[in-house]
């Protein structure tokens, strides 16, 4: 038997779970935990500059590793500052364990200093949450939190720990074993057989891959299924990289900013095989008019996603890997020459267009130049807005977990701290963060963390001094009444980065921007790469609000 405080017990349980890096910010109600953490030789703490930054660093680590990662904050404002990062993780199914300090139990409910009901606040944005009432409970709660975060459809789990629980001394015998994921759901072989028969009988099938394929580690299986069945394959924003974009069966990203031919291929499909995707409105447009001629096979580990937006003809409640493994021996090899020839014809007639892609001073050209200077080992993170969609369209993603983006919540400010997290988890990789000037300013303080950690993160700042996607929508859909979408002053981002201790270059002033870019990307350590882009360049094609995916404008 060992005597431990609640705080020491949490640290021991995190160590035992294999946690090696955590991001956070200390404060009054979490100080006992920080005191215990300072004695850990296994866990490294990264001090963020804003709790939201810490939340996204944990996300970055989780998104590249697939393993639950931890962030820490104090009570009150520390905890509420995490809310956006937690909600973001919830919508994108990112496994994360959030530990917050709370005022002592005797003061809960008294409106004490820095007291906020973070348990209540995070009910709708976590997979599950706990308010711990004794140190003894931690023995169950901490492993449970990890188990829940990584089982089935992953997600964030919050543990709120009052200060007195952190200080409480208890006798601890043997620690519980590290958490492992729950058993996946039992596979329904009748449904698998039915799905295989539908695939074999289909004339114009399309494989529709979502983020669940990446979470399940099933990308190679999905590609194998596509090749075996001769299935043209589209990916959601979250699935980019599941199939290499230049694979002959890839028809690229679907949806609001997908290529015209992609949405036309879906329009003609007679069978849609949806794997780990959830028929999100940005992906499918007007639901009633999405794939109007197709039967639907839907595979998802979250049973509540089945029949949620579109009724499936065959619904398979299963882990994606298990379902694909069962499907593969039942799907007949097929060439589907006619259908694939028609898909190729649509692609040739309505291709994705990248105007200006030879010019590194244009938006597409800059993205292509970055890709040209890197190999597939690099990780690419983005913020949210026009630059995010351009990167999704133009960057050649070729492996799962190469691409980190805020899909469901669409959080501006996501990019920099998430890129830092990715670099913390995989320091040998180059991590590029494409950002816009609007998004970048939302977590710009994390440049200080980046400088301190000296990580290999390159921020490519595409600056149009505007909230570009708002500007675009006001231009297209609000009678060009531009309001609150352009900035009247422009900060000097190069000076800002240098002020934080991050080297910076300005491509606007480079004689040979392509060479300057390659040099900056390939030098070790952090760097800000600033590039002005044209505010009048919009993201095309675009499905207008409420329209069907086939009613795209532009592109």
């Amino acid at each position: 038997m060992t005597q431990l405080t609640g705080a020491q017990l949490i640290v021991r349980l995190l160590e035992r779970q294999g946690v090696r890096t955590i991001a956070g910010i200390p404060g009054g109600a979490i100080l006992p935990f920080y005191d215990a953490l300072s004695a850990s030789t296994q866990i490294r703490h990264v001090l963020a500059r804003h709790e939201q930054g810490a939340g996204f660093m944990a996300q970055g680590m989780a998104r590249v590793s697939g393993v639950p990662q931890v962030c820490i904050a104090s009570s009150g404002p520390g905890a509420t500052n995490l809310v956006t990062a937690i909600a973001d993780a919830c919508l994108d199914s990112i496994p994360m364990v959030i530990i917050t300090g709370q005022v002592p139990q005797s003061m809960i409910g008294t409106d004490a200093f820095q007291e906020v009901d973070i348990y209540g606040i995070t009910v709708p944005i976590t997979k599950h949450n706990f308010l711990v009432r004794s140190a003894q409970e931690l023995l169950d709660v901490v492993p449970d939190a990890f188990r829940i975060a990584m089982s089935g459809r992953p997600g964030p789990v919050l543990i709120d720990v009052p200060k007195d629980v952190q200080n409480q001394l208890i006798e601890v015998g043997e620690l519980p074993p590290p958490a492992v994921p729950d058993m996946p759901p039992q596979l329904d072989m009748v449904a698998i057989d039915a799905a295989a028969q539908m695939i074999n009988a289909a004339e114009r099938p399309v494989l529709y891959l979502g983020g669940g394929v990446v979470h399940s580690g099933a990308s190679a299986l999905a590609v194998q299924l596509a090749e075996q069945g001769g299935l043209p394959t589209t990916m959601t924003l979250m699935a980019l990289g599941a199939m290499p974009i230049d694979h002959p069966l890839s028809v690229g990203m679907l949806g609001m900013h997908g290529a015209r031919y992609t949405n036309f291929v879906l329009e003609e499909a007679d069978l849609l095989i949806c794997v780990g995707a959830r028929f999100d409105d940005r992906a499918i447009g007007r639901a009633a008019q999405f794939c109007p001629n197709a039967k639907i096979v839907h595979i998802d580990v979250d049973r509540s996603e089945l029949h949620k937006i579109k009724n499936a003809h065959v619904a398979i409640h299963s882990d994606v890997t298990a379902a694909l493994e069962a499907l593969l021996p039942r799907v007949k090899p097929a060439l589907r020459t006619d259908w694939l020839a028609h898909v190729a014809d649509l692609k040739q007639r309505f291709p994705m267009q990248f105007p200006g892609s030879d010019d590194p001073r244009s938006h597409y050209g800059l993205i292509k130049a970055v890709a040209d200077a890197l190999d597939d080992e690099a990780v690419v993170a983005t913020d949210v807005g026009q630059h995010q969609m351009w990167v999704a369209q133009a960057y050649p993603f070729r492996r799962p977990r190469q691409w980190l983006t805020s899909g469901g919540l669409g959080t501006m400010g996501f990019g920099l701290p998430t890129a830092i997290g990715a670099a913390l988890a995989e320091p040998e990789r180059t991590v590029v963060c494409f950002s816009g000037d609007g998004s970048f300013k939302m977590n710009i303080q994390e440049l200080a963390t980046l400088a301190e950690e000296g990580l290999n993160v390159k921020v490519v700042l595409m600056n149009n001094n505007a909230l570009g996607l708002v500007y675009q929508q006001q231009t297209l859909f609000y009678g060009k009444r531009l309001f609150a979408s352009k900035y009247r002053t422009e900060p000097d981002f190069v000076k800002i980065a240098e002020g934080f201790g991050v080297p910076a270059i300005d491509l606007d002033k480079a004689d040979d921007p392509r060479a300057a870019l390659a040099e900056a990307l390939n030098a070790p350590g952090p760097c800000l790469i600033h590039a002005t882009i044209d505010r009048e360049q919009f993201v095309y094609p675009m499905v207008p609000p409420g329209a069907a995916n086939t009613e795209m404008i532009g592109g």
Binding site: G120, V123, L131, I148, D281, R286, H307, L469, Q473
Partner: protein, 104 residues
């Protein structure tokens, strides 16, 4: 980004449905369940909760109107970590009727 243009919410029918939930008994369970219904704009007409057996579990009775979203709602409830089982009863179930004397 862009405003959502969605079809109007389906109108609930008048048919009553009674849900019986077995749940873990601790302070946060009711808030998890009520929050789930509230954030999906699904009205709960009646709610009853009492601990059962040794106090480690509770039973919750919910009175709701049938609605095409109910099936989805039940699946969401089943996903909650503290919900152990959900049983669905028709309007003939008398749990709420027998309490009517207390609501006059």
């Amino acid at each position: 980004m862009i405003e959502q243009v969605a079809d109007p919410l389906p109108q609930a029918s008048c048919a009553k449905v009674i849900l019986e939930l077995d749940v873990n008994n601790h302070a946060g369970v009711m808030s998890h369940i009520c929050n789930l219904f509230a954030r999906r704009a699904f009205n709960v007409e009646g709610i009853l909760c009492m601990p059962v057996s040794d106090g480690k579990r509770s039973r919750i009775w919910l009175l709701v109107f049938d609605d095409q979203r109910l099936e989805q709602m039940i699946r969401q409830v089943e996903k909650l970590e503290d919900v152990l089982a959900v049983r669905r009863h028709g309007a003939e179930h008398e749990v709420f009727e027998r309490l009517e004397d207390f609501f006059h």
